[in-house]
Every structure is written in C-alpha cells, then in structure tokens.
C-alpha cells in the first residue's frame, strides 16, 4: 500500500475492515480474466474507448519545436476520463455484492461519470456536492439527476468539494456494509490509489500502443495534476522508460507572489491528507492551505501518493502554469486546432508548448487531455 514513503491507510479505524475487503476483492477481480474482459468490453462499448491521438498542426510557431500530440479523453463518455475508474469501481462493487454507491464531486465530472455508470448497473447512487459548487455547475447537477442519482447538496463548511468529500466519507462509514465509495482519483487510503490507477492505466496502454503504431515514442508525456487520475493513467505506461520525461503540471493560480495556488508537488510538505501520506499544501502547523486555480479540477491540496513518489524520487518533473497561460492555451487550441479542451488540459498544453520549443522537430510530446472545455466556456470566454 506504499509508493516509496507515500500512501498508507490514514482512515477512521472502522473503515479498515472495509478497505481490507475491498483490497482483496480488487486483487481477486483484477486477476480474473472474466472481470477484465467485462471491464474492457464496457470501456469500449459504453465509455467509447479507445480515444484517439490527435496531432496538433499549428501550436508551435517555431520551426524547431517538437511535434505535439493530444491524447483525446475529452472524446469519452460524458467528456472525461472519470468514466474509466467509475466503471471499474461500480463493476467491482457489483461483484462484491454491494447494492449502492456513494461519491463526491467538485466540478461535477466525477459525479456525472459515476451516476451514469451506476444507472447502467441499476445501482442506487448517492452523490454529495458542495452547495457553492452546485450553484456554479447547474448543468452538471441536472445531468446527475437525469441519471437518477440522489444528489445531496452540502451546506456544511466551505460548501465545496471538501464538505462534499467529508459528507460522502461519513455516509460510507454509515453504510459500508451495502455501499461502495467510488473514488474519482487515485488518492485516499490504500487500495484506492492502486485500484483507480489500475482502472485508469488503459489511457497509458492505448497511448503507448498508438505511438508505437505511429512509429514513435514520445520525448515527454505531459499531464496536469488535479486528483491525478488521468496523470497516473497516462504516466503508467511510460514509467519504465527512463528516457521519456514525465511532466506533472500544476496550477500556479494567479502567479502573484504570496497568492494561493495548487502547486503542492513542487511546494507542498509531506503530510497526511484524505487517507494517505503524500505531498500536501499545508502550513507549518499542518493546517491545509486554501488552493486556487482557474481550473476547478486542479485546485486540490493533496496529491496522489504514486505521483508524489514519482516526483520525490525524481522520476517525474513538475511545472507550474499560471491561470492566464492556461486560459490562453485553451483559446489558442480552440482557434488554431478546432479542439476545445478543459482548463485542466490547458495547463498541460501550455507546459507542452514550452517543452516542445526546446526539442527538435524529430521529437514528440504527448499531452493528456482529460476532458472537454464545454464546462469552462464561461470562464475562458467571460461575457463581454
């Protein structure tokens, strides 16, 4: 359950037997070819995998820059890679004889993916969402309810993802005998990071295969890190190629000195947060710091333990991208390539352009696009 020094099970002890049961069920399922076949089949038929790799044609002005390819998970089911792990976890819950699922959602993406998959399996689905987030994401709220989810708007605390996660975890503690908690990211207590990582690894397998088919391997794989599901997903297939740079892109926020940001891999401390020891944005007293980013999905103070270890061990490098640079990258990609990506992806694109500028045209940079930009239209193009 550890990635280097990171990971573990820092949970209320009552959850330990639940986690132990989940761990053994996951190991059993993951070793079962029938489970894997069902999962793969639904990834294809229901989620819409494999997603393509698109080469960008006009991103790098310089003639000397590397080619940039986008891994297009914005083209999956409901426009995001969350479906991969929601599908895996719901399948596993069904196999374990659990009848319901519970999850939390911030920007709504994980909630939508989980609600849809749960509907597909006729599993009652409870989703907690902070009241402030719910007010900002009314289309997402409507969509989750359209899939029949019991969406509970949380008025507690900061009325955002923190409050929602807290409520979902406590709901799960109360109903763990019948209900699976669906994690949106490879964070939290073991076996969640391992399990979500395994379900998301399909992104990396596809990417590697697609690059090999195209006759090239990337010089760098670039991904923006929020919860880390897409980052782990795409990095997984390249970790053992030391010549391939893994670049974890963090949200630098406004970029002003002293302002809040979300760059906990580069600037965080070792801490214990949401069930695992990992790199955390907290102060000297261990209090979690406020985060800030124009990209709702990147403003998270914790990190996936596996990513923390990749950074701490030097295997992955980190880059910080400001709100403005990310927004400009989203706009540039829309106007020049006809591809509307999320602000999360915009951070990665901005970083990739810089990286590609320092490489040769014979090189290739792969950028993870976890989700489409429809959700961010009003942020990137505010009303004039």
């Amino acid at each position: 359950g550890r990635y280097g020094v990171f990971g573990g099970q820092y949970v209320a002890p009552v959850l330990l037997p639940v986690l132990d049961r989940l761990e053994s069920a996951f190991n059993d399922a993951w070793a079962d070819p029938a489970f894997r076949a069902t999962f793969d089949n639904l990834l294809q038929r229901f989620v819409g995998r494999p997603t393509p790799i698109s080469e960008t044609s006009a991103l790098i002005e310089s003639e000397r820059g590397a080619r940039i390819f986008l891994k297009r998970d914005d083209l999956t089911f409901n426009g995001g890679n969350y479906a991969n792990s929601a599908l895996g976890q719901c399948l596993l819950a069904r196999r374990m004889g659990l009848s319901s699922v519970v999850t939390d959602t911030g920007s709504g993406q994980n909630g939508i993916a989980t609600a849809a998959v749960a509907a597909r399996f006729s599993m009652p689905c409870t989703i907690y969402m902070g009241a402030r987030d719910a007010a900002q994401q009314s289309a997402a709220v409507k969509k989750m309810r359209a899939f029949g989810a019991d969406l509970r708007v949380v008025e507690d605390a900061d009325r955002t993802l923190h409050a929602a996660t807290s409520a979902a975890i406590r709901h799960w503690m109360g109903f763990s005998a019948t209900t699976a908690y669906v994690a949106g990211a490879p964070i939290g207590a073991h076996p969640y990071p391992q399990m979500v990582g395994a379900f998301q690894a399909v992104i990396g397998r596809e990417t590697r295969l697609q690059m090999i088919e195209a006759g090239m391997l990337p010089a760098a794989v670039v991904s923006a890190v929020g919860g880390g599901s897409s980052t782990i997903g795409i990095f997984s297939a390249f970790v053992n190629d030391p010549q391939i740079r893994l670049v974890a892109v963090e949200a630098g926020g406004s970029g002003q000195k002293g302002a809040a940001h979300s760059a906990r891999l580069a600037n965080g401390r070792r801490g214990i947060f949401h069930g695992a020891e990992t790199l955390v944005l907290c102060d000297v007293d261990g209090q979690i710091l406020p985060t800030d980013s124009i990209a709702p999905g990147l403003a998270y103070p914790g990190s996936a333990p596996e990513i923390a270890n990749l950074v701490a061990s030097g295997r992955a490098e980190t880059v910080s991208i400001t709100d403005a640079a990310a927004r400009d990258a989203v706009r540039r990609l829309a106007v020049r390539e006809g591809i509307l990506v999320s602000l999360e992806a915009g951070h990665a694109v901005a970083a990739a352009e810089t990286i590609a500028g320092d490489l040769s045209p014979a090189d290739v940079v792969v950028v993870m696009v976890p989700s489409s930009g429809d959700k961010d239209l009003d942020i990137v193009w505010p009303e004039d």
Binding site: G8, Q9, Y10, V11, A12, P13, V14, L16, P17, V18, D20, D156, A157, H162, T165, S166, I169, R170, M173, G174, S176, R269, R270, G271, I272, F273, H274, G275, E277, V280, C282, D283, V284, D285, G286, Q287, I288
Partner: protein, 277 residues
C-alpha cells in the same frame, strides 16, 4: 523523567473510580473554541463539575470524519488562533491548577506529522498531556508515532468498533494504552445511537480481547442513555450532544447563567452515570 515513574493519570483515574464503584464520565471540547481564555475556563469548569477525563480537540482545517457540530467547533478554534502548539499551551495552562484530571488530545494526524512525532510527544508530555486519540491514525500505520509516544510516557488510545479485527485495536505494544474508545455504532459522530444491547455486545467484544478499560463514545445523547452505558462500560464519553446543548444555551442565556449551565448540565449526566454504574 521522574514523571515516568509515577502512575499515569489515566490509570490512576480508573483505579480511583474502581475503588468508588463508579464509572468514568468523559467529555470533549475543542481547544480555543471560542478563545484560548474561554477554553481554559471551560476545562476548569469541567474539572470542577466532576468530569473524570477531558478529550481536548486540537483544531484542524479538515475534520473530515466529524459531523457538522464538531466541524463548526474546529472552525471557531482555528479562527481564534488555535492549532496543535496552542493546544499544548492550553494543557500546560490547565495543568497549573489541575495535575490530576487526565487530558487526551483528540484530532487528526496531519498536525502531528507536521510537528514531528518525536517533537510532539516531547512537548505534549511536558505540557501535561496524557495520551492521544487520532481520528485517522490506525495502529497499523502508527509505528513511529507509538515509539515516540512511548519514549515520553504517553499513550495512544485505540478506537474500537464491532466490525474491527482484534489486531486493529487490541494490540499490546508500548505507546498503546489508557483505555479502549469503543464506537458501538458505525457512523459519524453525532449520528444515530446504537441500542443498549448493541453497546453491551460491543463492550463485551472489547473485553474479550483486551485488558484495557472500555469507554463508550459516539451517540450518547441523553443522561438516560449515559446511565445505560455506564451499566456495561467503564466510562461514558459525551461529546456532540453536550457541545450542541451548550452552544444552544450560549445564544439564549446571560453570561452568568451560561457559566452556571456548564456544571448544571454536567452534573445531570454525572448523576445519571453514577446511578447507572
């Protein structure tokens, strides 16, 4: 290091209560809620009103496992400048007048890690802390923490629940001790209560695998229920319902009447527990 040779306060408390044929009455408050000074006053009021052991929450920004009542109390404590360091100072201030009532720090693990387990244990022991309860720090993860606690004469109080395997709470190891904090109902603090039968079974299950005294927390909401719990356990922990009660009174009573309300409420529980013992 002379302290180490003394009987630890928690053990002394159980010995005393046993001699009196009584059960322990434990309550909870968050340090610096609503201010350092008022918090200190409240600790003194607890001791004066006959609380046997105090669980003192150190305020944390993300009390994810707690219900709304305690989340709010944490936010108030933080807003008043509370944190782990300041909580240790509060205990030290309390110890200036009370060297008997055991104080257990309760909270989350990140502030402990941030301070460093060794530094924490050393400072906590010096301040007069007796042990800790960590909401998100299972024994299976706690080796270095337990080592540090043991080196300074502190204990971690294991959380026990009916669904837990014995190796997750009934562990004999330096740094573990005090009592078992038995959670008969699986759910958030302040949530629905377990039946007295379920509580009895949970306590029996604890006694079957551990020699530590067993105190019951989570969901003890009325003096009557406290009496029922006292009949089967070694102590009763009343947290959320007492905070809710006092919070409600603070809004409606004069300062003087509110000051009187704390001992009044505590004595009501106290009598019920003693009657049930």
């Amino acid at each position: 290091m002379a302290r180490k040779m003394q009987v630890p306060r928690i053990d002394a408390m159980f010995a005393r209560l046993k001699g009196e044929g009584r059960k322990a009455f434990v309550t909870y408050t968050v340090a610096s809620d609503p201010s350092f000074a008022e918090s200190l006053e409240r600790l003194n009021a607890f001791a004066a009103a006959g609380i046997d052991l105090i669980e003192l929450g150190h305020p944390y920004s993300d009390p994810i496992l707690d219900g709304a009542t305690i989340q709010k109390a944490n936010r108030r404590g933080l807003a008043a400048g509370g944190n782990l360091s300041r909580t240790l100072e509060l205990v030290a201030a309390f110890r200036e007048h009370d060297d008997v009532t055991p104080v257990i720090l309760m909270g989350y693990s990140n502030p402990l890690l941030a301070m460093g387990y060794e530094a924490f244990a050393e400072r906590a022991a010096k301040a007069g802390v007796d042990g800790i309860i960590a909401a998100d720090f299972p024994i299976r993860e706690a080796d270095s923490l337990l080592d540090a606690l043991a080196r300074h004469g502190l204990v971690m109080v294991p959380l026990a629940a009916p669904t837990l395997a014995p190796e997750d709470f009934a562990v004999e190891k330096p740094g573990i001790g005090g009592f078992l904090y038995c959670i008969p109902v699986v759910g958030p603090t302040g949530g629905p209560s377990a039946s007295l039968e379920a509580i009895g079974e949970a306590v029996e299950r604890c006694r079957a695998v551990s020699k530590l005294p067993v105190m019951v927390g989570f969901g003890v909401k009325t003096p009557e229920m406290a009496a029922g719990v006292a009949a089967v356990a070694d102590g009763v922990i009343v947290a959320t319902s007492l905070i809710d009660h006092l919070d409600a009174k603070r809004a409606t009573l004069s300062a003087a009447d509110y000051a009187a309300e704390i001992p009044r409420a505590i004595i009501e529980y106290r009598c019920a527990i003693d009657a049930g013992s």
